[in-house]
Assembly symmetry: C2
């Protein structure tokens, strides 16, 4: 990453006082990053070969997710704090989608040597803010700092099931109620706004245009940068007997298709309330899609959006609404990323 | 990565039949990689938002470690199988260094779109071979596939303490015996040979030179590519009452310095047997350094190399031998990587 304002829009312009990670070296960078991270209360925290985390019910859930500069974020559109926030909450959301309560994170981060250390500190701040907001009390219990020509960070998150069975994708039964918790659409609307107003004349991401266009203060752009998943609703759904659940990372339609295929059912969306196309197909809000036994009282922020139907033996449709099939396909990073970064 | 023989030395020359990950797309790549990985017997494996892993004693140990193309490996020197092997065993070694038995891994991998899928399959084979050899029965329980301009993989490994206290770095006491298990030096000798014989006239890594020079069949080069850490000796050391332990990733001297500082002691190496400089300073063998109470019977492959002394209050020397201080400094990826890949 070059030390230009354009590539670090979320903070003050970079100055000569912002030492690079290459100039500081690993130990100094580690010290500056670690002190900004929440420590939580693991049985043993960072500094040894491993951390030790409690798993009170004798099991733990685990998920790992990578964010790579280019396909997953642009410095011209997201501040370091935004990137840290998003890396944390996307993983916490996967933990919640099993019905588990987050119990800790580890983070591996690779930064080009010319990266100002303030960028890594900003990412740490984003982690801290996200955890304070959505999983208070847990810590970043370990990590790894490395160098790479391409900035990336990999988060691995853990959770405790509290004695309950994990809520998997494959448990939906005909007759179950289909329900969703969390926002549908703002993150995708925000991304569309950035692609429209946040690019220069050549179509490249441009932080100055984001500011000049007012996109910087658009609440939808805020949600694209810092989604707010309903983490607490995951364990609530499990306690309420959810039969299946997953995290809406790629959009309601695509993720509903995954749940439908895993469960061998067809999901039928209610005709009312109507869902606009961005609510149906927009990704990155990280809401929760779950199914509940008929008559169950929906917990937390869950609201009904449909019902589970038996899947026809001869043609397996994943998702229907008003008698019409709804397409359940989408973004593939290997096939679809155009190689751009910015 | 370009699809040239030079960059994929460990396998047959690439052909048009080797589809790239960009052409195949994420799902097809995932299917081809997953089927080569050991599944182990997690409570819930890949395919949902999280895996579920048993933690029989109500805790688990966790470590995460990244391998990045350039600073951490060169395709001209290591096959995909070698890279997968090394990524697995370096993490398993950290688990062992706590006295824990490995219980599972998750893997996040980011590959350039032009990467042949056979490279990812080779990495999966390396994982499988390493696990079969050193931690049989555990599985790769989850993961993430992404794309990046720079190839990297991040492994997060877990382990179970079997009811024992974790063996931390800070527990060494004056009078304890200092002991090591595993090889000292071959990985560093292998790397030195690659830097000497495995480069072209411009000093760039060159697979053809590796073969032509005979370095390809040098056992030390084999250890650099596929270190064989004494994983089973970690839990044995814990059971034998080890007071402190860590994984020798950066070399005996550097890592002994870490243990000495964490414990507030000075480590004194025996004068006999003499350790040659590469045994003392060479990294990447991933042996185990541990301290035991005086008179303890050393388990597994551990052999005595010294003794723990009280640290002088006025000048804290980490490591001494025959009355002379031994330097305990070394490689820093942020400061020392020269930016080369190959």
């Amino acid at each position: 990453m070059d030390a230009t304002d354009e590539q670090d829009p979320g903070t003050r312009p970079l100055t000569a006082a912002d030492a690079t990670v290459g100039a500081l070296g690993e130990l100094a960078v580690l010290a500056r990053v670690t002190r900004r991270l929440p420590s939580g209360s693991p049985l043993l925290g960072p500094g040894d070969d491993c951390a030790v985390v409690a798993a009170p019910d004798g099991r733990f859930v685990v998920t790992t997710d990578m964010m790579v500069h280019g396909p997953d974020f642009r410095w011209a559109w997201s501040s370091p704090e935004d990137v840290g926030w998003k890396a944390a909450v996307t993983n916490l959301s996967d933990v919640a989608a099993m019905g588990a309560v987050p119990s800790g994170l580890v983070v591996a981060m690779a930064a080009p040597q010319e990266t100002p250390v303030t960028v890594l500190e900003g990412i740490a701040d984003g982690f801290r803010l996200a955890i304070e907001a959505l999983a208070p009390g847990i810590g970043v219990v370990g990590g790894d700092l490395s160098t790479s020509a391409t900035f990336s960070l990999t988060v691995t998150a853990f959770g405790d099931l509290g004695g309950r069975a994990p809520v998997v994708r494959s448990g939906a039964q005909p007759g179950d109620v289909l329900a969703v918790s969390g926002e549908l659409g703002p993150a995708a609307r925000g991304l569309a706004r950035l692609f429209r107003d946040g690019v220069d004349d050549a179509g490249e991401p441009d932080a100055a245009r984001v500011r000049a266009s007012g996109a910087d203060t658009d609440p939808d752009v805020g949600r694209q940068r810092r989604p707010v998943p309903p983490i607490a609703d995951g364990p609530l759904a499990a306690a309420a007997g959810a039969t299946a659940m997953l995290d809406l990372s790629d959009g309601l339609a695509i993720d509903a298709g995954r749940l439908a295929r895993a469960s061998g059912v067809t999901l039928e969306l209610d005709v009312e309330p109507a869902l606009d196309p961005v609510a149906l197909h927009g990704g990155e809000d990280h809401g929760l899609l779950a199914t509940f036994r008929p008559g169950a009282s929906l917990p937390g922020g869950f609201r009904r959006i449909g019902v589970v139907r038996a899947r026809a033996a001869d043609h397996g449709v994943d998702l229907v609404r008003g008698g019409d099939a709804v397409p359940t396909t989408g973004w593939d990073p290997y096939a679809d990323w155009d190689g751009a970064a910015g």
